[in-house]
């Protein structure tokens, strides 16, 4: 029955792929905005924007009407920490733009700028977006330097202009592996970070001409990249896992109150939850990571997300690339381990939008925001439910990917010619 409904929805629309005005009627709509959750609601899309989310009767003559009765609508999901557009195949398969090696013009790695590397034709884009992921934070994941460079906010709906916001955040690794990279010890790692901050503060926004002398440790390109961090314009995403490291991060923020600091991983965050809330530090985490992989993750538990949320810490979920579509399952498991359902959905939508300062654009279904939304077969956090139709910037997506085509080619193995001649 579900499949039949999905078929009807899809085929009502298969003739019209260009932008137009849509009225999606009858669904349960989780706006993730001030209107909360609305039953039997109508979502009006005008061009690339949400025009209104309302209940009751409305004049829908100017709209293409989509019946979504019995369905669930949410904002498009935001990949909170991915390398979408930077990686096609991770291992032994050529260039991977999410992995960087040291170069002499960037002594601390801050200068790296992934906005030059985002490939909207990557197969991960369609595979992820038909599962409801409409935008993402994309950044370097493998670096042996102090900073992993400048990440970008991207949309999965635009094949020519995928960048929503270039140089949107900076990454730094203050966990065990970060220490391993920088002098083998936190005793040097933290000094390196403090020095980078103080040199950038001294350097300021003014820039240097090649003729001007500069005797600091940081390269010019790094100083330039770090200024928006020091100035609090973009978040510094700090990977820290054990409670002691997280306390160091809190002290760091207190020393540098201007910085906008977000924690990544925060495996033992639950042990420091009240302090994190008091210092207004949000967390991006994987709620399923419940094993002591190293001595800086001994307190790992699936209750981490729920405990942080309960203390008032903003939580975002979704650390993956090829399978960022599983972020909804990760959030579902956080809910199974105590997180409120609405917070599980917030962790995939409005919370990452706020963390990355793109919440005026996406993250909730409110008038004048970009029309990124998903019609789900049911509860999106359920592993058995799926995205039936996705909109990005008001455009109805073709719900196909390389994977659905492989499936359709091989659903019937009895062919009278080689499979390369079978067009799904």
């Amino acid at each position: 029955m579900k499949a039949l409904l999905s078929f009807i929805i899809t085929c009502m629309l298969c003739s019209s792929l260009q932008a137009q005005n849509y009225a999606i009627v009858g669904a349960t709509v989780h706006t993730m905005g001030p209107k909360g959750t609305l039953e039997n609601a109508t979502v009006l899309i005008q061009n690339d924007k949400i025009q209104a989310v309302l209940t009751g009767d409305a004049d829908l003559q100017a709209y293409k009407v989509i019946d979504a009765k019995g369905k669930v609508i949410t904002p498009g999901l935001i990949g909170a920490h991915t390398s979408l557009g930077l990686v096609e195949v991770s291992s032994s398969a050529g260039t991977v733009d999410s992995e960087v090696s040291p170069v002499n013009f960037s002594t601390v790695g801050a200068a790296a700028d992934v906005s030059f590397g985002i490939n909207p034709d990557s197969s991960l884009m369609n595979i992820s977006r038909i599962a409801g992921v409409t935008s993402a934070a994309s950044s370097v994941t493998h670096s042996s330097q102090l900073f992993s460079g400048q990440g970008a906010m991207i949309t999965l709906g635009d094949k020519t202009q995928p960048i929503i916001k270039p140089r949107a955040f900076m990454g730094v690794n203050m966990s065990n592996s970060g220490a391993d990279n920088i002098g083998g010890s936190r005793a040097l790692l933290w000094v390196a970070l403090e020095q980078a901050i103080s040199e950038t503060e001294f350097f300021g926004p003014k820039g240097l001409s090649p003729a001007q002398q500069w005797h600091g440790e940081l390269a010019r390109a790094d100083l330039q990249a770090l200024w928006p961090v020091v100035n609090g314009d973009i978040p510094l995403i700090i990977d820290a896992r054990r409670a002691a490291d997280i306390r160091q991060v809190i002290a760091f923020k207190q020393r540098h109150p201007k910085l906008h600091i977000v924690l990544l991983q925060a495996t033992e965050g639950w042990r420091v939850a009240d302090e994190l809330a008091a210092n207004d530090i949000a967390v991006i985490l994987n709620p399923e990571s419940n094993l002591p992989y190293a001595f800086d993750q001994l307190g790992a538990t699936m209750a981490n997300a729920a405990r942080l949320d309960k203390a008032g810490v903003m939580v975002a979920i979704g650390m993956e690339s090829h399978n960022i579509r599983l972020a909804k399952q990760h959030a579902g498991n956080a809910v199974a381990n105590g997180l409120a359902w609405s917070q599980g959905l917030a962790a995939l939508t409005i919370n990452p939008a706020i963390i990355y300062k793109i919440d005026t654009l996406v993250g909730s279904l409110e008038a004048d925001k970009q029309a990124d939304l998903v019609i789900w077969s049911g509860d999106p956090l359920e592993v058995t439910q799926t995205a039936e139709q996705v909109f990005i910037k008001g455009q109805l997506l073709d719900m196909q990917s390389r994977q659905t085509k492989l499936r359709d080619r091989y659903l019937d193995l009895q062919q009278d010619r080689p499979m390369n001649y079978v067009r799904p």
């Binding site: 398969a93 399923e288 002591p292 190293a294 001994l298 399978n323």
Partner: protein
């Protein structure tokens, strides 16, 4: 089919009194040399348990049956009966499971718990003997650290047994071992009694990447030459032993062949006593291995990872080889690039044997969710498989592929009471294993923190005894 030989071998072991007896010790009572097939015997002891009746539950029996408002009676470590109204005697523990579900315990055919434990320090990295492409002489059980906290996490996910395998660096990685998920002081304490050994082999990228700069193989064709030479060597080795016994029986005084631990294991595969578990992603790699299997007359029990089984599901059904798969992993290397979310149901629909496996200390905690995703994706693709049938991917098919289906893997009278009571429909993200029973004993009770296993490693550390 494999197991008859196994029984013959075991009785041989008993007769040989379990030691390598050199001939000529006592010329008046000359005996042939017999190799002990079980030098590290299981010392597993089931925990004593009270009779338990779970009632008012939805039961998936693991072999396609479903009972609404059902009841399950366990006694003496075995399943006694299941039905709709079962009487409880006075001393039976009764669990009213209104709204809950009961299934067989989950069995993971592909785990590296203990051999790649947490914490994942280099000193703990004991899963790949990356010193030669064929290391059939190594046994995973000699690397297992029973204090890996991952066992307890998997238990909380309803996993009652698993096969622990060497890694996939080598063409032949060594023996895998099937264990009960009840680690104790030494690894023998958790070995599944009577389970045959597995042999880990690997196709494709990993061996050629590891050995490409170390003398080879450096290509897929090099890989295949490596397997074939290994089997040819094993055949020759077996012929030497066969001749030795033949000559001995003919009253001659043959010289005992030199024992070779690597060829011992490979020869046992050729005799059907050890089951082959082969890491193989691509359809063409699997197709080649089906012919190698024919050429040397051995049986591949399961292709592991099998990301492209959907492309050759008919051939796998005809060859009676299982596929152990993830629900949706893909793209981390070229041979995983064509992964699709319908692989598992497409293999099932072609009447081939489908298994959901983890290869992950996280995935093993949620194998029910992996099956649920595959089941739902299959239905959306028009493959209408019942939940009751789909549960075969988690218990019965793994048990068959490991040679332990006579003991476990389904809820049938007389089988080991390896049972999970789920808080709700286990095809839901929100379902949690509330009770886990191994051989009838309640070994995990989500609502009773005192019942949660805590490994030695976790004692005295942050988070000791916490909900995980």
């Amino acid at each position: 089919m494999h197991y008859q030989n196994r029984k013959i071998m075991q009785s041989g072991i008993l007769l040989a009194a379990g030691i390598l007896t050199a001939c000529g010790d006592n010329p008046s009572k000359r005996e042939a040399v017999v190799i002990n097939g079980d030098p590290f015997p299981s010392t597993y002891q089931p925990i004593t348990s009270n009779a338990t009746l779970i009632k008012n539950v939805t039961i998936l029996d693991g072999i396609g049956g479903r009972i609404e408002k059902g009841a399950l009676l366990m006694q003496g470590g075995k399943i006694v009966s299941l039905g709709q109204n079962l009487p409880a005697t006075g001393d039976t523990t009764v669990v009213d499971g209104q709204g809950k579900w009961v299934t067989p315990g989950i069995i993971d055919v592909h785990s590296h718990l203990g051999v790649y434990p947490a914490p994942s320090t280099s000193s703990h990295s004991d899963g790949n003997e990356k010193t030669a492409p064929v290391t059939a002489q190594v046994w995973a059980e000699h690397s297992i650290w029973p204090q890996d906290p991952g066992f307890g996490r998997a238990l909380a996910g309803g996993v009652t047994a698993m096969q622990i395998l060497p890694g996939s660096a080598n063409l032949v990685g060594g023996r895998g071992v099937t264990v009960k998920n009840l680690p104790d002081r030494v690894v023998q304490d958790m070995k599944f009694p009577g389970a045959p050994y597995g042999l880990k082999m690997a196709c494709g990228e990993n061996p050629k990447r590891v050995y490409g700069d170390k003398g080879g193989p450096g290509t897929r064709m090099g890989n295949v030459a490596g397997y074939r030479q290994a089997w040819a060597d094993a055949q020759e080795y077996q012929r030497k032993w066969d001749l030795y016994y033949k000559d001995f029986d003919a009253g001659k005084a043959p010289q005992q062949p030199k024992r070779d631990l690597k060829l011992d294991t490979l020869a046992k595969v050729l005799k059907g006593e050890i089951l082959v578990h082969m890491h193989c992603y691509r359809a063409d790699d699997m197709g080649t291995m089906l012919d190698v299997m024919q050429e040397f007359g051995y049986k591949i029990s399961v292709f592991h990872h099998a990301v492209e089984s959907y492309k050759i599901a008919d051939k796998l059904a005809a060859a009676n080889v299982c596929s152990a798969m993830w629900a949706d992993w893909w793209g981390f290397k070229m041979e995983a690039y064509d992964g699709i979310q319908e692989n598992i149901p497409m293999v099932h629909a072609a009447k081939a044997c489908a298994i959901v496996h983890s290869d992950s200390e996280l995935g093993i905690q949620r194998l029910n969710q992996e099956a649920a995703k595959a089941w739902a994706n299959g239905r959306r693709a028009g493959l209408d498989i019942s939940q009751a049938d789909a549960w075969q991917w988690l218990s019965a098919n793994p048990a068959k592929s490991l040679g332990i289906f006579a003991q476990t893997g389904s809820l049938e009278s007389g089988k080991n009471a390896d049972v999970v009571l789920w808080s709700t429909d286990p095809f839901s993200t929100y379902a949690q294993a509330e009770h886990v029973y191994i051989d009838g004993a309640l070994v995990y009770d989500r609502n009773n923190p005192e019942s949660w296993p805590v490994s030695d490693f976790e004692l005295g550390q942050p988070g000791e005894g916490d909900s995980k």
